[in-house]
């Protein structure tokens, strides 16, 4: 490969560095109808650990800073009776505890119902949805 113009496509996306191509490359975008993403279903990829270690941000990055009402809806920051955003994403195991009605360590018990209802309201496309969906899958 040395001495050619070829550049590894996407290789630098690995390992926590920003991908910055050093030389212009022809990027094949594919036809609009072509597929470039294959998701390995949890049933194939999972171990019990991978599902229980997935993460659910509460709320997701689309709603950063918003509070969570007891029914799980997003409300403006500071709304009375609403729970503040969690400082860190919940792990799958913690989300499971919340959905069962218990409170994982580090979560305010007064707010746990709001967080559980937020998770129940997650829909496809929202951050954490696939984690929540994976938790529902029978093993």
């Amino acid at each position: 490969m040395s001495g050619t113009d070829r550049e590894e496509v996407g290789g630098e996306a690995a390992g926590g560095r920003t991908f910055v191509p050093s030389r212009r490359t022809v990027l094949v975008l594919g036809a609009a109808a072509a597929s470039t993403v294959i998701t390995v279903r949890p049933a194939l990829a999972q171990t019990a650990g991978s599902v229980l270690n997935c993460e659910i941000p509460v709320p997701g990055p689309h709603a950063g800073g918003n509070y969570i009402a007891p029914d799980g809806n997003l409300v403006p920051p500071g709304t009375q009776g609403a729970a503040p955003p969690l400082a860190r994403p919940l792990r799958g195991e913690e989300a499971k505890q919340l959905l069962r009605g218990s409170t994982p360590p580090g979560v305010n018990p007064q707010s746990s119902q709001a967080y559980a209802n937020y998770i129940r309201r997650l829909q496809s496309g929202m951050s954490g949805f696939t984690c929540y969906a994976s938790l529902q899958m029978p093993r």
């Binding site: 496509v9 290789g11 470039t36």
Partner: protein
């Protein structure tokens, strides 16, 4: 007319292994693994510079790449929708 704007999760949320022409991504927030082809890794990398719609993303990519074909904007929009369905990008 501007299309929907998208954001990607931070780089440290996704572990990437480059294979021969493909990449395997482990997306920690969802616990899901995806096998992707170009231009998916490039789109994710460019989105980490901030939210963008397909037109803005095309401008960012053009700063680094040449493209094949005349329908780059349509193809990028299709790729974004695909990445959204996979949970790798979200609407901003």
């Amino acid at each position: 007319m501007a299309g929907p704007r998208y954001i990607a999760d931070p780089e440290d949320s996704v572990s990437t292994v480059a294979l021969d022409g493909l990449s395997v991504l482990f997306h920690a927030p969802s616990g899901m693994t995806h096998i992707v082809a170009a231009p998916a890794p490039e789109i994710l990398a460019m989105l980490r510079a901030g939210p963008a719609d397909a037109a803005e993303l095309l401008r960012r990519l053009q700063a680094h790449y040449d493209f094949e074909g005349d329908e780059a904007a349509e193809a990028i929009q299709a790729r974004l929708e695909e990445l959204e369905a996979a949970g790798l990008v979200q609407r901003a």
